[in-house]
């Protein structure tokens, strides 16, 4: 524990530097403007460029430079104390040191391929045989699996739930403002508080086990241990995630629903369309830009879960959310190089998924009379 320098000594220097930086940013903007004018750039263009300069600086330092550094570090071994040591693809080799194997019989607990240093990540048994997937960096792939499965389950469920609630709210209900405010509340709650609150509710003698007592009493006499049971941890996380987002997403979708012109429904009625046909051929296409936006943002958010993992411990066999795992690799274990390699794999997965969603949008997202891209 470091010593406390006192309130004033922590606030004042930062405040002074804050003001100096603010002045500096202003000066740089003026210089950027003057230089352009001197070079004969039109005043309008010079002003525009000068105005976006703060972002450009931030982008270069906090995005371009950091991403470049991260890529470089991912090819090194670095623990803060000695300078980074170039090891080429070493980190990636260790991460991708994986093996597949088939199970010949049920008894074959650890098949040959996993015998030495690989531990099992996924095991599927079909009849007498089956297959098994193992890796040297088992905790990374377990966490990656948890994170990806979490995203694949919670994002579609959350979107469907949000759409359902938005459709309900669109039925000319009384007190719309009240419902909107109510449903949006979980999104305001600090992630830290959400994590602690749900850990308490899911704890062994917590409210959820008390309320569901009649159900689990049927099978066992033991209350379920949500976060330590390999089968229950994921459902518990999904429940927390759904609680957090479905209300906020439904408020966004509701605004989209309200924007659908009534004439379209009337025209559909005249053509003899039933409720389902209207939903399928009017509501969904018209709402598709909002659904698309929601899909992209919630996928990215689901792959970046951090606080839940920081406050809720799960056993090694379950894994944790990959962002928290990477954080620990970097700042608890001080393997900055390995952590960077892991982060890059995550980045590539996020980019691939986003690209996939964007690609698919050509087939299902409908922009009304606009050529503008989302």
């Amino acid at each position: 524990m470091t010593t406390d320098p006192g309130a004033l000594n922590t606030y004042l220097p930062t405040l002074i530097r804050y003001i100096l930086v603010a002045i500096g940013v202003g000066v740089i903007m003026i210089i950027v403007y003057r230089v352009q004018i001197a070079l004969g750039v039109k005043r309008e263009a010079a002003t525009g460029r000068a105005l976006v300069t703060p972002w450009v600086i931030g982008f270069l330092v906090f995005n371009v430079f950091t991403i470049g550094t991260s890529l470089y570090l991912s090819f090194t071994e670095y623990n803060l104390f000695r300078p980074p040591e170039w090891i080429g693809l070493g980190n990636y080799q260790e991460l991708f040191d994986v093996s597949f194997g088939t199970l010949e019989s049920r008894e074959q607990r650890s098949s040959d391929v996993l015998a030495r240093r690989h531990s099992e990540i996924i095991r599927v048994e079909i009849g007498d045989g089956g297959f098994v997937f193992g890796a040297r960096a088992a905790s990374f792939w377990r966490s990656m699996r948890l994170t990806l499965v979490y995203a694949f389950v919670s994002v579609p469920l959350g979107l469907a739930g949000a759409l359902g609630v938005a459709l309900l709210l669109n039925q000319k209900v009384k007190g719309l403002g009240f419902w909107r405010v109510l449903y949006y509340m979980p999104a305001v709650l600090p992630a830290v508080a959400t994590a602690l609150l749900w850990r308490w509710m899911f704890s062994q003698s917590g409210i959820i086990n008390t309320l569901t007592q009649p159900i689990w009493r049927l099978t066992t006499n033991e209350p379920p241990r949500w976060f330590t049971d390999a089968n229950l941890a994921l459902p518990a996380f999904v429940i927390i995630g759904l609680w957090g987002v479905f209300g906020a997403n439904s408020v966004i979708l509701l605004a989209g629903l309200k924007g659908i012109p009534q004439e379209l429904y009337e025209a559909a009625s005249i053509d003899g369309a039933g409720n389902w046909a209207k939903f399928r051929h009017v509501t969904i296409p018209m709402l598709s830009p909002a659904l698309f936006y929601n899909l992209v943002t919630s996928t990215i958010a689901a792959l970046q879960i951090f606080e839940l993992a920081a406050f809720i411990q799960t056993p090694e066999s379950v894994g944790t959310f990959v962002n928290w795992l990477i954080y620990q690799e970097a700042f608890t274990l001080r393997n900055m190089g390995m952590a960077s390699a892991m982060a890059w794999i995550l980045l590539l997965i996020i980019l691939a998924l986003t690209a996939l969603i964007f690609r698919s949008s050509e087939f299902w997202v409908f922009y009304q009379g606009q050529r503008e891209k989302a």
Partner: protein, 307 residues
């Protein structure tokens, strides 16, 4: 269905009740039932948090669900700070709230001010490379924070500013929130050009136009962003956990983690204290949300509907 029913009923010429009255009523009842059910799912955890924060330790693990604490102990809210001070002297309520507010307010002002300037530059002026840079800015949303975290930490370490509030405050002056720039740009684009042109003819310079014409016009979106930004910075956990290591300097989010790890370990987690802290951390954002809910919800909708 619904539209037909309501228009028919409100039409004075058709006094006779229409035949589909009964299914309509059942339908309405069903809708409200579902809405109330969803509402209960949303609200019960909140109520449980507040209820727990007012309980004595022996009311925590009773095996019953009691929402009304008996006896209720509001002293938990004071005691939790005494417990924290007993571990780290000087970790008082005032200090921790002060830390949180210091970070939140500086970051919020930096964010709003820089984002509005950048959005102004991206929307009201024509220059080559504008769309390319704007596209790049939107693309940065996809970069997971974890990728830039190690290098950012190394930068601040190099600058000798670890364990200060600098990494959490003044980088906001460089428009670190692309979403806010995007929201404001959408708003700027909707302002008619004539207003600016008239001002230019009157001899106003860019700073004057920005300050006297643009800022008042974008006030609704500024307020929305202020609210969103306050919430995001107040709730921030990933930044402080990386940079702040002295317990007395912790913002609320880290103080909660500190309590969880140092005082609530072992057989009997002190949920009444932790829920008291959670309630304290939630109260200001929730209050702000209730006061400015219109801005909150609109701010989000601009992004979604126009995006």
């Amino acid at each position: 269905m619904t539209t037909e029913a309501t228009t028919l009923r409100s039409d004075p010429l058709l006094q006779e009740p229409p035949p589909p009255q009964r299914p309509f009523q059942i339908r309405q009842a069903l809708i409200y039932l579902l809405l109330i059910l969803c509402g209960a799912i949303v609200i019960v955890p909140f109520l449980w948090m507040i209820s727990t924060s007012l309980k004595t330790p022996d009311q925590l693990f009773t095996g019953r669900v009691d929402f009304i604490p008996n006896p209720a102990v509001p002293r938990n809210y004071i005691d939790v700070w005494e417990r924290l001070s007993s571990v780290a002297p000087g970790m008082s309520f005032a200090r921790i709230i002060g830390n949180t507010l210091f970070i939140t307010i500086l970051a919020m002002f930096g964010e709003i001010f820089s984002a509005s300037l950048v959005a102004y530059g991206f929307s009201r002026f024509e220059w080559r490379g504008r769309n390319l840079l704007f596209g790049l800015m939107l693309a940065t949303v996809m970069i997971p924070g974890i990728v830039t975290r190690v290098p950012s930490f190394l930068i601040w370490r190099e600058l000798g500013l670890l364990n200060t509030y600098d990494p959490l405050t003044w980088p906001s002056l460089f428009a670190w929130g692309p979403l806010y720039v995007f929201l404001m740009r959408q708003f700027f684009l909707s302002i008619p050009r004539e207003l600016e042109e008239a001002a230019i003819i009157d001899g106003a310079n860019v700073a004057q136009i920005y300050w006297h014409i643009m800022l008042p016009l974008i006030r609704p979106v500024l307020l929305a962003i202020a609210v969103l930004s306050f919430q995001a910075n107040w709730n921030n956990f990933q930044g402080p956990i990386l940079y702040i290591s002295t317990p007395q300097m912790f913002p609320l989010a880290l103080a909660m983690r500190f309590f969880d790890q140092s005082l609530s370990r072992g057989e009997a987690p002190q949920w009444h204290y932790m829920m008291a802290m959670a309630t304290m951390m939630t109260a200001p954002v929730l209050l702000l949300y209730f006061l400015a809910q219109k801005q909150f919800i609109e701010g989000l909708n601009i992004g979604a509907v126009k995006g």
